[in-house]
Structure formats: C-alpha cells, structure tokens
C-alpha cells in the first residue's frame, strides 16, 4: 500500500497490508505532529504523482536492500493537527533486525527525497510560517 491522502491514516489497514505468513516480524512506524513552540498543526503540501512514484520506488528498494517481504507507506497531505499521524510505514520481514533497519531507512529516505513540504501553523491566529 502506497498512498498520499487527506483523510486520516487507518493504521490497522496499513499494518494488515504487509501481513504475510512467511514474515515473523512487522514493524510499524508512525510519525506524528508534536506540540512545539505554539504550533497547533502542520500543513503538508505534496507533488502527488511524483511522491507516489518516489514512495513506490523506495518501498521496492527497501525490499531489495534489506531482503524484507513487504513495505507500505502512507503519508498525509493537507492540515494535520498536533497529535495527528502524518506518516505511517509498515514493514514485514522474516526476522526483526532487518525489519527494524528497513523501516528506519525508509523513513529517512521519505524525509530526504519525497517531494513533500510542511508549513507550521501557529496558535489561534491562524498565522502560517515556513518550516525552513
């Protein structure tokens, strides 16, 4: 499962999408919007077709690089409030070591190469400032 969506991420569905009888480990990473310096939400902007292409390639690379069985990546777009889930990566492998490693690598790659930008939304005044 590879997706970029406005709707809330169904973590159970992401988890189920990687289940396989030959996999003894599943790692689920969930990135959330944390409360920080008056931030009340993050707005995610995505170049969707390129992001989908990039996430698909990334999941395939993870399988090849770490020998894992399945990987799903789902990212939010639009406004995600503090406490909300912004990204979920589920990874299934035969053993836990490579499964943890693949999940961590994939998250780093998502932040590095997938065309997604975030803007911090502050306080009640709805003022917006760039995150970089």
């Amino acid at each position: 499962m590879i997706d970029v969506r406005r709707a809330r991420i169904d973590l159970e569905a992401v988890l189920d999408s990687v289940r396989r009888d030959d996999a003894g480990a599943i790692v689920l990473f969930v990135g959330t919007v944390r409360s920080d310096e008056g931030i009340r939400a993050l707005d995610y902007e995505v170049y969707r077709p390129m992001a989908i292409k990039s996430l698909t390639a990334l999941a395939e690379q993870a399988k090849e690089k770490f020998g894992i069985a399945e990987m799903s990546i789902v990212h939010r777009l639009g406004r995600v409030p503090v406490g909300g889930d912004s990204v979920a990566i589920a990874c299934a492998g035969i053993h836990r070591a490579e499964t943890f490693a693949a999940c961590e690598w994939a998250m780093d790659e998502v932040k590095r190469i997938v065309p997604i930008w975030k803007t911090e939304v502050e306080g009640r005044a709805k003022s917006v400032r760039g995150s970089r």
Partner: protein
C-alpha cells in the same frame, strides 16, 4: 511552445500561483527556462542553488531540452515526514 509549470511551498508563495503556463521558444533547455522564470520573479534567485528540477515527474539535469507540453516542476528542498 507551451510548458506547464508547477510550483510548491516557498516558490508557490513567491510566484503567487501553484501552476501556470509558460510560453517558450522551441529547443529551450530547462536551465534557460529557469533563467527566464527567475528573471520574472527575482526573489527566486536566492533559492536557485537548492532548487531541484523535475520534468514530467522525474528529476532531470538542467541541460534537458524541453518539448511542447512538458510539465516542469520547481521543487524546494523537501521537508516531509514527521517532525
């Protein structure tokens, strides 16, 4: 020929649009196109060094020769994922 431009985040704010159509001469390279865009929107010049360029959803070199109907995206450094 007509090039479809896509702009994101900071670049969208500078240009004031998510996308627009740009008229260019035949045989123009991506670098020449960006030169023209930066000339029209000088505030983009500060970002030129970190700008990634995509044509039809693939990152390409600035020397790429464009063709009519290409979709060119100017991409700021990404900041995706969880904070």
């Amino acid at each position: 020929m007509q090039i479809r431009l896509r702009l994101f985040a900071t670049y969208r704010e500078i240009v004031g649009s998510r996308g627009l159509t740009w008229s260019a001469r035949d045989g123009i390279t991506l670098r020449e196109l960006v030169d023209g865009i930066v000339a029209k929107y000088p505030r983009l010049a500060d970002h030129r060094g970190s700008m990634l360029l995509a044509v039809n959803e693939d990152i390409v070199s600035a020397e790429r020769v464009l063709t009519d109907g290409d979709e060119v995206a100017l991409l700021p450094p990404v900041s995706g994922g969880a904070r």
